[in-house]
Symmetry: C2
Amino acid sequence: MLEFKILKKSKKSKARVGILKTEHGLVETPTLVPVATQGTVKALTNEEVLGTKTQILIANTYHLHLKPGEDIVKKGGGLHKFMNWQAPLMTDSGGFQVFSLGFGQDYGMGKLLKEKSDAEVVIGQQPKLLKITPDGVWFRSIVDGRKIFMGPKESMKIQETLGADIIFAFDECTPPIADHEYTKKSLLKTHRWAEICLKEKKNKKQALFGIVQGGKFKDLRIESAKFIGSLPFDGFGIGGEFGDDKKIMEKMIGWVNSELPEEKPRHLLGIGHPEDIIPIIKAGVDTFDCTAPTHYARRGIAFTSKGRVDLRKSAFAKDQKPVDKNCDCPVCRDYTRSYIHHLLKAREITPLRLLSFHNLYFFNSFIEKVREDIKNGKI
Amino acid sequence: MLEFKILKKSKKSKARVGILKTEHGLVETPTLVPVATQGTVKALTNEEVLGTKTQILIANTYHLHLKPGEDIVKKGGGLHKFMNWQAPLMTDSGGFQVFSLGFGQDYGMGKLLKEKSDAEVVIGQQPKLLKITPDGVWFRSIVDGRKIFMGPKESMKIQETLGADIIFAFDECTPPIADHEYTKKSLLKTHRWAEICLKEKKNKKQALFGIVQGGKFKDLRIESAKFIGSLPFDGFGIGGEFGDDKKIMEKMIGWVNSELPEEKPRHLLGIGHPEDIIPIIKAGVDTFDCTAPTHYARRGIAFTSKGRVDLRKSAFAKDQKPVDKNCDCPVCRDYTRSYIHHLLKAREITPLRLLSFHNLYFFNSFIEKVREDIKNGKI
């Protein structure tokens, strides 16, 4: 069950404000979907996450399949109950991890992937792709080395067992270095798998999003958006790995969203640094997941109204100001940069939690303002 | 300023219920004093610590002197404001760390000290004692290797700059292997330093506690309690390092408390595992600091009404029960052992916070019950 209602459209761009109605409550869009890779937003409890104005989370099918396994999650009453998150929840399909972690390692892309996956990936410990078959992928578990097969049927089964409100079709995420020939071949497989996922889906309470791929190629992106957009999905994911090429990314979203049905929600997978947010919303994206707020927090970096601030730097040792003087979160109300700098230098756990909270609050407040601006015709 | 009022004395033991009135509020005794070594209770924010029924914290003069340095804390408005803890606060004198970390290393006692100090001590990185002089101790900073001198005057100055409500006289903490001769010599120094600390104290808002030493020797303990107890301290610390010899410890507290003035508060330094709590309270201890709740939490171990539970063990993978079914803390209300086991195995930060919260709440609730039992004449 998923309803999506567009409340207001921008006249100057494709931006829109909407309401997603899920089994576990409402989500006002556009919104960030913070990442709870292994069933928790790193360094925070789920009550704290609610305090950051977070409306919806995305957890990771690949990681939860390997550990603790979907059967244990089911025994715990499903993912919502297992992780004590009674608000809306997504799981991704596992495609991104299975492919790009393996591919990324083969092509020396560990650093890029480390930045993006928030999975505490250690170079050399990514799953090695063993074999791609027409039905899916064989890979080795990083947990215990056993061979694991994942394809559209398996991903659907796992995601249904996990029980999130919104689940994604299993796809192949092509890397930025893939050429037209490889990307086209891969796309046909992703399309076929999308149809299998639709057929396999049994739980009517869950909404299924199809994923548009096609790399950096306009013809393939349009072909994919037309094909996936024509299938009876509840919404759409826009996938892909672009490295740092933000211009290609913005163009690509434009191509895709021109083809996707306007009345259905669109999720951009794995993108959403502060500088990306307004462009992707203007390009018509409703939801997007990004690990940046928590990833950078754990490295001592705060996002603020004046840009990124690396609180490990000695310049902040005596700084009595809050992390961001324009932020009204409890961390900025109660703590100074000087104190957080000290705790980071002292290798305490507490500052990781403080900065994770602030960063999520900062992102969510920023996007709240964007929603207001769309409603008021300013965007 | 410190007032101590005994509300109820046990008829069967030396246990008593009292109220400590400090510049930053009241403390009902007996109570645990959780440890905020470097200005934070590890893995928790200070609002969370208040939620665990904690009434008072103890921070570490030695650690805060090395990092960030008391001048930075003063710039932040003193330790209460710096760490955003507006409730009662102690600092220890630094004596324990300066001596026993150095001594511990020389005598291969790293493990023992690691267990006790909660200072994330890495073997081989303890401060090496360079020289003991009649005025104090030269040692090397573990932060930057520079030579640092600390004696009673220095400790008092640092503690006054930090600005806690209750501060401790600088002492030498003798190790359990010290013989009578060494311990006696050390004791005379500790006593002389106690007098210096009393003379050096300038801030009338702070309360100064003298520390009783004397190792495992009855004559020395009684001598020390008589001497320190005769000085105009606001209260008393009972120091010493006993390793696992709990029987000696209990006897020692008995010797000391028979000599100390009854109407003044008594703090037992660095002791307080669950099995110790009732014996030390019965022996007349009012407050005691112990890192066990947070130390064990970060290793995946919960304290419960049925004893310690190591949640890393695979036996808990599918356990749908709360950490402790007799506990009414939010962690036990919201999370299962299965979920916390998963997060520990997944090396997340969140479970360290969940267990730190539960463990502190468990200790504080247990002691709350002990206070009730004393009031009701059950102890």
